[in-house]
Symmetry: D2
Subunit: 234 residues, 4 copies
């Protein structure tokens, strides 16, 4: 299970030189699904099979097993199925389609993850801003996980996070992104699919990493130009 | 447990005339939290207590119990706690704050629900549009629920929905909204909280109910004016 | 021409006590159009006419005249038309409908203004971020105003702003809002009209006024919980 | 002036074979700016100069001249400047930077155009939905162009469009996109610039071309699963 991009390419090339015709490689990292399609095709010409196994579960997978979404030839999948069975929780792996499909499904999984995180985040922010009610966010996260419509594993983690730091005062509001959100957005656009919420969730991450928005400076300057609205000077 | 708005107002007024000083009313419906604050205040002047109990769980609550978020005086809450204990799943009820807090927390819960639904919906649409992979959405929903980061109760329901109708061909893409999403958006705006994803999830529902967008007609007409781009004529 | 809200209400009440049956009041401020409908109705009962005159043009109106959008009875409008003719540029005033219509049209005007400002702002930010091209934003704003599809008065002001401060280094990216954007969004939602771009333009202003997003803190904390992704500590 | 993509590549290759060292090619089409950077580099090795001239003004350019944004070596630009002077309105052309900068600036221009169009479109839709006021959209577009803050050339075209068809009843709400909006969004994402309004304006075009949203079907199905909310059946 290796990271995406250059290192994956190198590792696969390296392994391809070591293995024999009839062998199978499994890429359990976050590769771009089009790369997996291309690599599978190239390896197939050498008689080597490639399975693309999207993997989810985070650091908790070590304990409960990883959810595995596998693409590639079904017969090859069946050959190595015991490996997936060992790594995954019960029923937690499946063959989802031809080469590339595994990483494609994992990519969309991550796009959805961006949206879910943003949705919960906005809800907690709205509650946090309601000072008059002085709400206990950990208590609410815990409560919602007992039978409410929005119960989920991410909400269980929110409960843990608020338990450790009720107002998240030690955490900076700075959110990285690791690429799969961008791919999901690009894929949606490529296919003319409007995915506004997944897309905006990505853009909000960019915004979180800006000290200040240049666009906002432009608007402040223009409002001053037309309306004489004061700008905050540096 | 009554619907919001006029009928709730009438029912509470009716009950207020029947009960005695020292009695407690419980509003387990989807009232606007500001109404609950106002009603609790008015009833208190008559010596009557009002608890606002936000309720989640949908039609499944009948089986597993309802998640209950209760606002009002803590002492009053404790008096009637056995009722909530009976209706809720284990630990599935809590006193979350003063009058109004229960319905406020339920309102935000629904706002989050809009965003989660929209996030999953976009992900499934992206997969559905990828015809080359011919993905089995039920299988994927099921798989993701086995240990993936985005597992949730809503995703379990998605599994059920795709089981009944793999391509949702019998369902129209027409989505109602019942008010709490609007309240969440209004609340966010009132407090200067940007909640773009919850907000857009509401707007997408409006869009789903339009046969055609007038705004899109404007753009089509303008593109024709400046660029000679053909418009599709009726 | 008076500001919106309480002071307008007071001023109109004050004037209503001073004027006589058959007189006409003109509210040239940014009143909420529903207030104008209500006030016109109340004044009418006393035989006093109210015209609601939405006014645009900013501080430049003093020089070139104000664009005036007038609501109220047409006969009353005609009586006082010379006033509007004097204040407005040529053809720059019109009777747009019954009471409230003037302020309604002005409200929507401002909603559009939010979107236009945000659109230009994003474009300039994209250019500003392209360091390799080292683009001269003033030059480009000027150029675009010579026959391009996006030429506009706001873009002329952008030219002025970049002339004074090429990188806007003296301006903070902090954008106020004066209420009409909120009203436009509320109006759209009330009528089930999806107006995503006007709405987001408002939310971006809120975001510009946050030092840090609480929602982003939530996401950073959750990513740490599930993926062990490092958070930036305070 | 040729269309983007394959035909441009072919045309440039064809011309490159015909011209001589020291000659200059001008690409006045909507090429992707990265292609222009690449082509300029390749041609330079043969001693041929390439200027990338972004062109705006639509079909009206024939009458008033085209706004031209030119990238490439300044000395080369100066050599052929008379051509641009002839084609453009007064001051309506400029050298904006090195190779690629011309098409880059044009690309961003188009991204802004998407946002402006969407902003006006939403405003007109909000007015159109306000049936009680029965507003005359042509009259309002005309009025706003007389001194209001949002006056622009696009708004003049809106006036023309509403003059021809007051309710746009002959136009379908179906909006094409020609690629530059996608490039602008991709560019913004590549540079971690949040451009939510330009991005959403693109996605709204996709949505305008869907008869029905699959995502909306998913939400309708899920609401039925958890809440028993009726779905509209086909």
């Amino acid at each position: 299970m290796v990271p995406s991009g250059g290192p994956t390419e190198e590792t696969i090339n390296l392994l391809a030189a070591l293995v024999q015709e009839g062998d199978t490689l499994i890429d359990g990292g976050n590769s771009m699904y089009k790369d997996s399609v291309r690599r599978a095709q190239a390896l197939k010409e050498k008689g080597i099979a490639l399975l693309d196994a999207g993997t989810s579960g985070g650091i908790w997978g070590l304990e409960i097993g990883y959810c595995l979404m596998v693409g590639g030839e079904e017969a090859v999948f069946q050959q190595v199925e015991p490996i997936f069975k060992t790594l995954a929780p019960e029923n937690g792996y499946a063959h989802v389609g031809v080469s590339g499909a595994g990483h494609f499904v994992k990519m969309v999984h991550n796009g959805i993850e961006y949206a879910l995180l943003q949705g919960y985040a906005e809800g907690f922010e709205i509650m946090n801003a309601k000072e008059a009610f002085n709400l206990d966010l950990q208590k609410i996260a815990h409560l919602w996980n007992q039978g409410s419509v929005i119960r989920s594993w991410l909400l269980e983690l929110a409960e843990d996070a608020f338990k450790k730091d009720p107002h998240l005062s030690s955490v900076r509001g700075y959110v990285e992104d690791s690429g799969e959100g961008r791919w999901t957005v690009a894929e949606a656009i490529e296919n003319d699919v409007p995915a506004p919420v997944i897309t905006l969730s990505l853009l909000e991450r960019f915004r979180s990493r800006q000290e200040e928005s240049f666009g906002a400076k432009v608007i402040a300057a223009l409002r001053n130009e037309f309306g004489g609205h004061g700008v905050k000077k540096k």
